[in-house]
């Protein structure tokens, strides 16, 4: 009947349930209706409510670099909010590459790379700055670590990176850095 309802409790989110209804009056019982299937889900608004806020998207323009020296120059001179895009594979020669740039909460700097670009043979990519986002990097064959987030680093985000074949640690977070976010990586 229109306006008739039934609340079913005790169900498990993610489990499929089948429902059918029938009617009864003084003339007897009806046939069952066709079944309908439904899967209860968790209220999506509850997901993530206890996780810390991520860094905002870098709002600035793209700076392309193809050498280590160009990367160093871009890190020191690019405006806050810039997106530094590494366009050619880089070989670290077994030496650590340390990033100390400090950007701002309103304009984090993002370091990313073009498809197929490999950052290889660094002792480690060592991060000591602030408000830096590393996204989509392919870091391989680190002679010590892949990416090391160290000491005074704060508000660093590593997202969607592939970090592989490091001699020691893939991602090393060490000596009390603050607000480090490691999301969606394959290590």
């Amino acid at each position: 009947m229109a306006g008739t309802s039934k609340v079913v409790t005790g169900l498990t989110n993610g489990t499929s349930y089948s429902f059918r209804v029938g009617a009864h009056n003084s003339s007897g019982y009806s046939a069952w209706s066709s079944a309908v299937n439904s899967t209860p889900t968790a209220p999506s608004g509850q997901f993530g409510a206890l996780l810390p806020a991520r860094l905002i998207e870098s709002p600035g323009s793209v700076v392309n670099v193809s050498t280590l020296s160009a990367l160093t120059s871009a890190l020191s001179s690019a405006s806050n909010g810039s997106i530094i895009n590494i366009t050619s594979s880089l070989n670290g020669g077994g030496v650590a590459y340390t990033i100390t740039r400090n950007a701002t909460s309103a304009a984090p700097i993002m370091i990313t790379s073009s498809p197929g670009v490999l950052l290889t043979n660094f002792a480690m990519i060592e991060v000591r700055g602030s408000y830096l986002r590393f996204r989509g990097l392919d870091v391989g064959f680190g002679t010590i670590d892949g990416i090391k987030i160290n000491v005074s680093a704060n508000n660093i985000e590593v997202d969607h990176c592939l970090i592989h074949n490091a001699a020691l640690n893939g991602i090393n977070i060490q000596d009390s850095p603050a607000n480090i976010q490691i999301w969606n990586n394959r290590v």
Binding site: T12, N13, G14, T15, T41, A42, P43, S44, Q46, F47, G48, A49, L50, L51, P52, A166, A167, L168, N169, G170, N172, I173, D175, S176, Q181, I182, W183, N184, N185, R186, V187
Partner: protein, 159 residues
């Protein structure tokens, strides 16, 4: 630390020591390893406190799914919830001071193809909806591939 996959690493997949305080580690998948694998929490030169691990899948480690660096240390306030361990050489969830385990169970997560490093979940995986409502706030809204999480699944991949 959320939605990450760690596999076949030389030592631990995730190392939370020394002094790795106030870490939130949710929906990660850790498989295999050469000497250790899994995740380690604890003290070495300093205590590690207030680590929250939710929805971890830790499998096929030579050592533990969750290891404690020093099970007799004074670490405090570390809690692991709603996690799965399977095929780990020394056991799944190492007991010790400072760490509690809630709704952590031993069960095969039913990866689609572990040999091919495909750690997505088959239908019927016990990781599906493993995370209990009290921890929904720790569940990322999407998974490692950007797929919207409809159910509160453990691991980096939503079913």
């Amino acid at each position: 630390m959320a939605n990450n996959v760690f596999y076949d690493n030389q030592a631990y997949g995730i190392q939370l020591y020394p002094q790795a305080n106030d870490v939130i580690c949710v929906c990660n998948t850790v498989d295999g390893g050469v000497t250790r694998g899994g995740t380690v929490v604890g003290s070495e030169s300093g205590l590690t406190d207030n680590v929250t691990i939710v929805g971890m899948i830790g499998t096929n480690a030579p050592w533990y799914c969750i290891d404690l660096y020093d099970p007799a240390s004074g670490d405090a306030g570390n809690n692991t919830y709603d996690s799965l361990g399977f095929g780990n050489g020394s056991g799944d969830f190492r007991a010790g001071t400072g760490m509690t385990y809630t709704n952590c169970t031993h069960a095969d997560p039913l990866y689609v193809n572990r040999a091919a490093k495909n750690f997505t979940l088959q239908s019927g995986s016990p990781a599906i909806n493993k995370i209990q409502p009290a921890r929904y706030g720790y569940v990322p809204s999407t998974d490692i591939d950007g797929k919207v999480r409809v159910t509160a699944d453990a691991g980096a991949f939503a079913f």
